[in-house]
Amino acid sequence: MKVMVCLKQVPHQDAKLDVNADGTWIQEDNIKFEINSYDTYALEEALRIKDADGDTEVVVVSIGPDRVTQALRTALGMGADRAVHVNDDEAVSSDSLGIAKVLAAVAKEEGPDLVFTGLMTDDGNWSAVPPMLAELMDVPSATGVLHTEGANGSLQVERELEGGAVEVVELPKPCLAAIQTGANQVRYASLKGIMQAKKKPIDVKSAGDLGVSGVGSAGAKVTIDKIAPPPKGDSAEILSGSTDEVVSGLVGKIKELGLL
């Protein structure tokens, strides 16, 4: 069996975010990047299938600039078998649908039985690419998946609904599952894994190599006009001063609320 895991490298969750000069994205120089948190759960879910069935091949796929090599090395160190890196300025500048088209072209070459992705990314929070990719691949899909189980040529998944409820869905293979955070406990790359990863192949491609055209910024159907810190209009009154002063202010307010 082959499992394709799509992952994105995103700014570290604790990175300081400054808006770039033209106000359309963040300043990416001099910040740390990491694998999108949702995608680490997707990779772990795939590696667990491989743990149970040694014949499984796990292929990680990412679209992004040179820095993405680091994320792919980490994924290989965790146990993925090989990587595909679409490193192409045009592809990188695509909107969600453009990214899905590039990934669909990779999937066409790879022919996976299962595609695992994260539910969304920590940068754009779009949660758009996974169902789009499934539509373009013409396979069934489920999002917000907390549990997967293989059975008789199908993948049975539990999707998260509201208030802790889940929906159980059976997806005949090939299919796509967009994994929710907390689905599993994500492993770390071991030292041995990191050493082995150095010998594992990373196949670098362009959109052109994949036969994809019309993506990139020119083909984008959605463009970001500007990003900015949210308006601070009715934000909190801030208590300042020493810890004692702050605490006495808080106690005063709690008394006012009749809770003390």
Binding site: L17, V19, I26, D95, L97, D122, D123, G124, N125, W126, S127, A128, V129, P131, M132, A134, E135, L136, A142, T143, G144, Q156, R159, E162, G163, G164, A165, V166, E167, V168, V169, E170, L171, C175, G182, K221, V222, T223, I224, D225, K226, I227, A228, P229, P230, K232, S235, A236, E237, I238, L239, S240, T243, L250, V251, K253, I254, K255, L257, L260
Partner: protein, 319 residues
């Protein structure tokens, strides 16, 4: 904006309130409003929605649609888009909406924006607003395609409560070739922790940094105030606290007299679960954390300095 198609959602035998929020947004954008209601035995609900702002409403009523199925809903929505001649499709950003909407958009080769909280028509183009980077930044986006699909953040607009001219017509959907199969829905297991009944909820987030700090720092303040301890999603995902403590769209939605958020940055899915609290205090060392937008009172400081001191002061005040 030509024609706007609202995908109304049913839940527990009624139209969800979020669908009426879509009516408000559609009227704000301006255009001919049409709707689709999907399910089995949903004719009456469709008539009701049609007369309450849904307008000309298509009813995809089929035994094969008695439970949500991503492929069935995709086919029904696509059929409704064709029947309505829709230029813009509005879907609530619920577990149903985020599952199916991007598939609809990809199939239509349309522009797609998720989780918008506002949208308008600017010279025939849809311009919308949403948050990025887990609520830390606001983005304005423009859609450049013949068709546009948006998912809309629940609660972003007031639900439409008026009435209007409406009609219903049956929409047949070819469900052959549907592969995904609904098995069952499982409700959350009862855990005995009901945060919704507490007068005070003290919650900790990723900023607490360590599972041992919850019993040491967060729980004592909750106990001193006679309240309960909550947590944000990353805390539960990391296995630091059980899911029963989770506040947010996928956990419990709480409205206590006082909510104290400690080391919680304020991702949207957490805010949904606590922003209707009567009074909110936020303690976070990042002055730009989105939690301060919904808080009434904020402290920009290290929670490990403020929270234990506050616990002592509360105990002292109680004598």
């Amino acid at each position: 904006m030509g024609t706007i198609l609202i995908v109304a959602e049913t839940q527990n035998g009624a139209i969800r309130e979020t669908s009426y929020e879509l009516v408000t947004l559609a009227q704000q954008i301006g255009g001919t409003v049409k709707s689709v209601v999907i399910g089995s035995g949903v004719g009456d609900l469709a008539s009701e929605f049609a007369g309450k702002g849904g307008g000309e409403t298509f009813v995809a009523d089929d035994a094969g649609l008695s439970n949500y199925n991503v492929e069935g809903w995709n086919k029904a929505i696509r059929a409704a888009v064709d029947a309505a001649g829709a230029d813009l499709v509005l879907i609530s950003n619920t577990p149903l909406g985020w599952d199916v909407a991007p598939r609809v958009a990809a199939g239509l080769d349309a522009a797609f924006v998720s989780d918008c909280f506002d949208a308008k028509d600017e010279g025939g183009k849809v311009v919308c607003h949403r948050r990025v980077f887990n609520g830390k930044l606001d983005a304005q986006l423009t859609c450049n395609a013949d068709k546009t699909v948006l998912t809309v953040q629940p609660g972003a607009k007031e639900p439409f409560s008026g009435s209007g001219d409406g009609s219903t017509s049956a929409l047949s959907v070819d469900l052959s070739g549907v592969r995904a199969k609904f098995v069952e829905t499982k409700q959350a297991e009862s855990t005995g922790i009901d945060l919704t009944k507490a007068d005070v909820v003290v919650s900790g987030g990723r900023g607490v940094g360590d599972p041992e700090k919850f019993p040491e720092v967060i729980q004592p303040l909750a106990e001193a105030l006679g309240g309960a301890m909550g947590a944000s999603r990353p805390v539960v995902d990391a296995g630091w606290l059980p899911h029963a403590h989770q506040v947010g769209s996928s956990g419990q939605v709480v409205t206590p007299k006082l909510y104290i958020a400690c080391g919680i940055s304020g991702a949207i899915q957490h805010l949904v679960g606590m922003k209707a609290s009567n009074y909110i205090i936020a303690i976070n060392k990042d002055a730009d954390a989105p939690i301060f937008e919904v808080a009434d009172l904020g402290v920009v400081a290290d929670l490990f300095e403020v929270v234990p001191a506050l616990t002592d002061a509360v105990k002292a005040a109680k004598g």
